[in-house]
Amino acid sequence: MNKEAWDISIESLNGGYGSHLVLRDFSAVMPAGTITTILGESGCGKTTLLRLLLGLNRPQSGRILFGGRDVCAMSDRQFHKLRRRFGVLFQDGALLSSLTLAENVALPLVEHTRLPRKVLRDAALRTLELVGLDKFADFYPGELSGGMRKRAGLARAIVTEPPVLFCDEPTSGLDPITAAQMDQLLLDMKACYPHMTTVVVTHDLGSVEHIAEHVLVLKEGRSAFSGSKEELYAADDPYLRRFLDRKYEESRRMAAPPLDSSVREALSEWLDD
């Protein structure tokens, strides 16, 4: 485990998919050794931001710095070496479907070390136990529920004890008890590795309350807020208030049923058939 603390700073980043810009002039700082949560509406570009940080999408302009080092100025090789220090949980787990859970979790160790099989399997089982899946070690990802896949993805992300951990919605699709356990796991990881920088994308205000030390809020690809949890709760920006109070937008309410009368008639014909 690396003892360096890595902060992440993003400077006027523009990026997205090809010519489709998702993030526009986005700047933010994720302090070293803290848990940063990223909040934002569905589709506002949180996953895209993670993909840009991970080098899976190329930014059109702007700078990304890990521990003061600009990744855009690095060669591919240097960046790949840097990325070894990252653990990543993808939004839908992204487990390899042809491997069992234990094999999936052990994969980074299998591919990068010469340890004997037995040691690798034990490491995988212990990590799976942390996320409560040790009984499912020999199941394939296709045989599991969405929440279980996500937990297994988290196990794979932390098996290398990375100094930087990215989690895309670790608690969505989980029941309150398991979600609380995942949050606690992140906090425990933090307690074991005080230098670890954790970036958690989430919609779950409960887990923001529980784990966040630093909060970023995205709105339509721009930064809408950056600061501590307390500052967020004290903010009086109407958008943030709506977000925190789980308030809907008046203009998006359903004023009348969306179906046309002709569609409804056609449907009732089918229903009465």
Binding site: K81, L96, H112
Partner: protein
């Protein structure tokens, strides 16, 4: 002018991309950990799983060739040549080409679909962020396994085809079995067999390159997204492999003869 050049440039770009993909596939041989196990698994997937089809196709190809050649040769009273005709046809053309086409249909399409699904479900991205080279992990083992299995399956095809020819011309029809086998022995040379293996190896590279490349780039397709893209990638992988096998066969044959 620009409109005329654009497709040509796009094609050139793609060919270059494929060449880089292939070069990467071979280069990763020296960088991939625990490669032997992965290659062995692929030998099983590509080789053992295609064995039955190859046996079946080989047998019937031999049977039909034997039958046709017997009647054609009878017209000239040259039945003694049947063995050599059949063996040379099989070794030089039929076995390498049909084996490659059958493996494309059996294992190549599955390969494209598997890699394509991995691509659209972020699994390849996950490999990348774990610093596992996706080409080294997915393509290199298949490439090496195919270089083992294609020649082996081609030889099996040839042997079973010659046996099929024997069945139809000597057992079912009236050809003397000594004449059949001595015809084979006297006409087949080492060069034919080397050429056969060379063809099998070249076809192996073509099939794996095309099938893996199509799956790997399924997310970039213009003719569909998601599951549809994987389906289209599989179709074009099979079609493109088959066409390229026949083109390469012509080119190789013209050099070997």
């Amino acid at each position: 002018m620009k409109e005329i050049c654009a497709p040509a440039i796009a094609l050139l770009h793609r060919l270059g991309d494929m060449a880089c993909f292939l070069a990467d596939g071979f280069r990763q041989t020296f960088r991939t950990r625990r490669l032997a196990g992965k290659v062995l698994r692929q030998v099983y997937v590509i080789g053992a799983n295609s064995m039955f089809v190859i046996l079946l196709i080989g047998l019937f190809t031999g049977l039909v060739l034997g039958l046709q050649a017997f009647y054609a040769m009878s017209m000239f009273g040259a039945q003694g040549m049947l063995g050599s005709l059949l063996a040379l046809t099989l070794i030089r053309e039929m076995a390498p080409v049909l084996t490659a086409v059958m493996i494309t249909a059996r294992a190549g399409s599955a390969m494209t679909a598997e890699i394509g699904v991995m691509r659209i479900s972020d699994q390849i991205d996950a490999l990348e962020v774990m610093d596992i080279h996706p080409i080294g992990y997915l393509v290199t083992p298949r490439l090496l396994a195919s270089l083992i299995t294609f020649p082996l399956l081609t030889s099996i095809f040839t042997v079973i085809g010659i046996f099929g020819g024997y069945l139809s011309s000597c057992v079912l029809l009236t050809l003397n079995e000594g004449r059949y086998f001595s015809g084979i022995e006297s006409s087949v040379t080492m060069d034919d067999i080397q050429g056969c293996f060379l063809k099998a190896a070249v076809f192996a590279v073509i099939v794996i390159l095309v099938c893996c490349y199509q799956g790997y780039n399924a997310h970039l397709r213009k003719d569909g997204k998601g599951a549809e893209a994987v389906g289209n990638a599989t179709t074009s992988a099979v079609v493109m492999s088959c066409v390229l096998i026949l083109v390469a066969d012509y080119v190789l044959t013209s050099f070997l003869l």
